[in-house]
Point group: C2
Chain length 209, copies 2
DNA sequence: CACTCCCCATGACAAATGTCAGAACCGGAG
DNA sequence: CTCCGGTTCTGACATTTGTCATGGGGAGTG
C-alpha cells in the first residue's frame, strides 16, 4: 500500500493540546512512510501560525484546544490555505459539532476511538480530495437533526449555561427580563426539557450550544 | 539509563477508552526497553479483568472511562492486587479528583500534557515505590482545599446536577422536599453561589461532586 | 399585499425555588 | 453529662422562574 519510490509524502500538521497524545500520534504516523509530520501545535492560534509557516497538505486538528477550537482554525485555514485539507479528531463527538465542522469546510471528522492504522488511511483519503466522516457520528448527527432553536434562543441559552439568574442574562444580552424568560421558555419547550437547566444540558449533548 | 541486561522489565497495563491514544501510548512506551505493555483495556471493568489476568507491575489508567472511572478501578485494584501500583493519567485535572485518587491508594497522578519521556520516567518512579503528583495539579488541589459540603449536601447536589426539579430530587433521595431545599440552600451559601445550578458548576470545577 | 416567522416587549398569574425559624433525634467531643 | 454538629422534618414567606396572552415592527415568501 505504501508508495515505494518517487511519490512525495503527505505533509502533516498535528494540533492537540495534550502533549502526550500529540507526541505519540506523531510517532505512530511517522511509521507510515508516505506520511510526514512537518509541524505540531498545542493551541488554536499556534496551529494557525504553524500552518502558515509550513503549508502542510493535511491538518489534523483536535476539536477542543485552548485559544480557538478546531472548527475555528478550520474556518481560518479555508481562506488562508485553500489547498490544505482539514481533518478533525475528537474525544467527545457531539452531533452539532460535526455539522459546524462540515460547514467550515472540514474534509474529515473522526473520533479518537479509531486505531492509528485507520487514521493513516483516512488521512490518505482526505488528502486524495475525498471526505470521510465516522459512520457512527454521522448517524448520531442525522438522528439528532438540526437545532430547532433560533439564533437568539441559542444565545440566551448560552448565557444561561453557567447558572446565571435571569436578571444577569438580561443585562448581558441587553434585553428585558421578560423577553429573556420568553426565549428561555420557548427553548425549553422546543427541547422538551423540564426547565432551562435541563435544556442547557440537552443542547450541550447535541452540540447545539 | 535503560537497563542493559538481566533486570526484568516493568510490566504495564494500559487503560484508556480512546483507541488512538492507547495504541499510540503503547507504541511509545514500547520504545523504552525497560518497559513492556502486557495488557490494554478500553473500559473500567475490562481494566480490572485484564489486571487480574496479567498481574501487571504498574497500571496506567485514564481518569474518565466508560463503566468505572480510574479511581474506582484503583480502589478495587488496591485490595485485589496490592502489589500493583496505580498511575492515573487525565485530560482535565480537577482538584477534587486528585484527592479522591490519593485516598484510593493511587501512587501517581499526571495530566496528559506531559511528554512520553516524562511519563516513562514517572512510571519508573512509581514502580520504585515512590509517589509522583504533577506540581501544577497539586498546587490547584491545595488552593482549592477540601470540600466544605457535608455528605448529604454533596449527594443532593449530585442529584441536582442534571437540572432535575426539587420534587424529583426528593423522590430519588427519599427525603421531603423541604429538606432537599434546605440542603441545597446551605450548599449554595457555602459555595458562595447565586443559585444551585451555579453551585453545581462550582463544585464540578473543584472536583467536589 | 397578505402571510409567516423571528425579534422584542409588557403584564399577569401560577409554580418552583430560596431563605429562615424552629424542633426533634443521634453520635461524638469535651 | 452537656454541648455541638449533622440529619431530618415542618411551616411560612419572599423571590425567581415558567407560562401565556397580547402587541408592534421587520424581513422574506407566495
Amino acid at each position: 500500500m505504501t508508495s515505494a519510490d518517487s511519490v512525495p509524502p503527505v505533509r502533516l500538521l498535528l494540533a492537540d493540546d495534550e502533549h502526550l497524545i500529540r507526541g505519540a500520534l506523531a510517532a505512530l504516523l511517522a511509521l507510515e512512510d508516505d506520511l510526514v509530520v512537518v509541524a505540531e501545535a498545542a493551541t488554536g492560534p499556534e496551529a494557525l501560525a504553524m500552518a502558515r509557516a509550513h503549508r502542510p497538505d493535511v491538518a489534523v486538528l483536535d476539536l477542543q484546544m485552548p485559544g480557538a477550537d478546531g472548527v475555528k482554525v478550520a474556518t481560518s485555514l479555508r481562506t488562508e490555505l485553500p489547498g490544505c485539507r482539514v481533518l478533525i479528531v475528537t474525544s467527545h463527538g457531539r452531533p452539532g459539532h460535526l455539522k459546524r465542522a462540515l460547514e467550515a469546510g472540514v474534509r474529515g471528522f473522526v473520533p479518537k476511538t479509531v486505531s492509528a492504522q485507520r487514521l493513516a488511511e483516512i488521512i490518505r483519503t482526505v488528502h486524495a480530495g475525498n471526505r470521510y466522516v465516522d459512520p457512527e457520528l454521522a448517524a448520531d448527527a442525522i438522528s439528532a437533526g438540526d437545532s430547532p432553536l433560533t439564533e437568539r434562543e441559542t444565545e440566551i441559552l448560552e448565557y444561561a449555561a453557567d447558572g446565571a439568574p435571569v436578571a444577569e442574562i438580561a443585562e448581558r444580552a441587553a434585553l428585558s427580563q421578560g423577553t429573556v424568560r420568553n426565549y428561555l421558555s420557548s427553548a425549553v419547550s422546543k427541547l422538551g426539557a423540564e426547565n432551562r437547566h435541563a435544556a442547557v444540558r440537552l443542547a450541550r449533548e447535541r452540540g447545539w450550544v
